[in-house]
């Protein structure tokens, strides 16, 4: 029997986050981070964007992007702190901060996406 260990679950979330962020973030970042602010492209109208956001499917996809991506960050960041700075003795604290952050962030994402008028 396999011992119940959080690692496999965390790794799954990490990987899922890695994939969705790699698929969706580049284009979203190009559009909302550079193309629209710099005026290369006309940003979508408020009505259009709201309509898009109102679609439950969009919200589901966005949640599916945000939550795993946050866990992706949490998992990687935790390991980077361990390995890069050799502060493994702070193991528990770091884990709480990282995964705690991801949980809080996911909750915030759920709240915000739920409350799109």
């Amino acid at each position: 029997m396999i011992k119940r260990h959080p690692e496999p679950l965390l790794w799954m979330l990490f990987s899922a986050g890695g994939v969705v962020s790699a698929l969706l973030m580049p284009i979203l970042l190009v559009l909302f981070g550079l193309a629209f602010p710099l005026g290369w492209l006309q940003p979508p109208s408020y009505e259009h964007l709201l309509a898009v956001l109102r679609n439950p499917l969009t919200r589901l996809v966005l949640f599916g992007l945000c939550m795993p991506s946050l866990f992706h960050w949490a998992h990687r960041f935790r390991h980077t702190l361990y390995d890069g700075l050799q502060i493994k003795h702070l193991n528990e604290v770091i884990a709480v901060i990282c995964y705690g952050g991801a949980i809080v962030g996911s909750a915030a994402a759920a709240y915000l996406l739920w409350h799109v008028p």
Partner: protein, 138 residues
Amino acid sequence: MGQRHAYTEYHPRWLRRPVSTYWWLQKRSYFAFILREASCIFVAWFVVYLLMLVRAVSEGEMSYRQFLSWSASPLILLVNLVSLLFIVLHAITFFEAAPRAMVVHVGGRRVPNGFVGAAHYLGLLAASVIVVWILLGA
């Protein structure tokens, strides 16, 4: 008996050389690794940025406009430019790693890693086209 497999007597004078805290500066490939790992910070940043956009849109047209002009401020532009570089790095390294974890068999034959990698890039292309179409095309 009883000394199975481990016959090494502990030698007190073995030389142990601890790894330096700055090991990742000592080799180019280690540094590239740390950069790759650092990309996760920008992934998290973009989630925050995206959620701020969602909130702005939820709060009405005014806030949306404010968000757009805030996003055009030099600092935020710079942050996003750097983020983009890291996220591209993240995407490339992730697509390179993914086929190593997944061995795909089709009809009993192993699909070469190159195909699996290419499939990811196709996915990226498709996702991008859909996003652009939803936001700008319709």
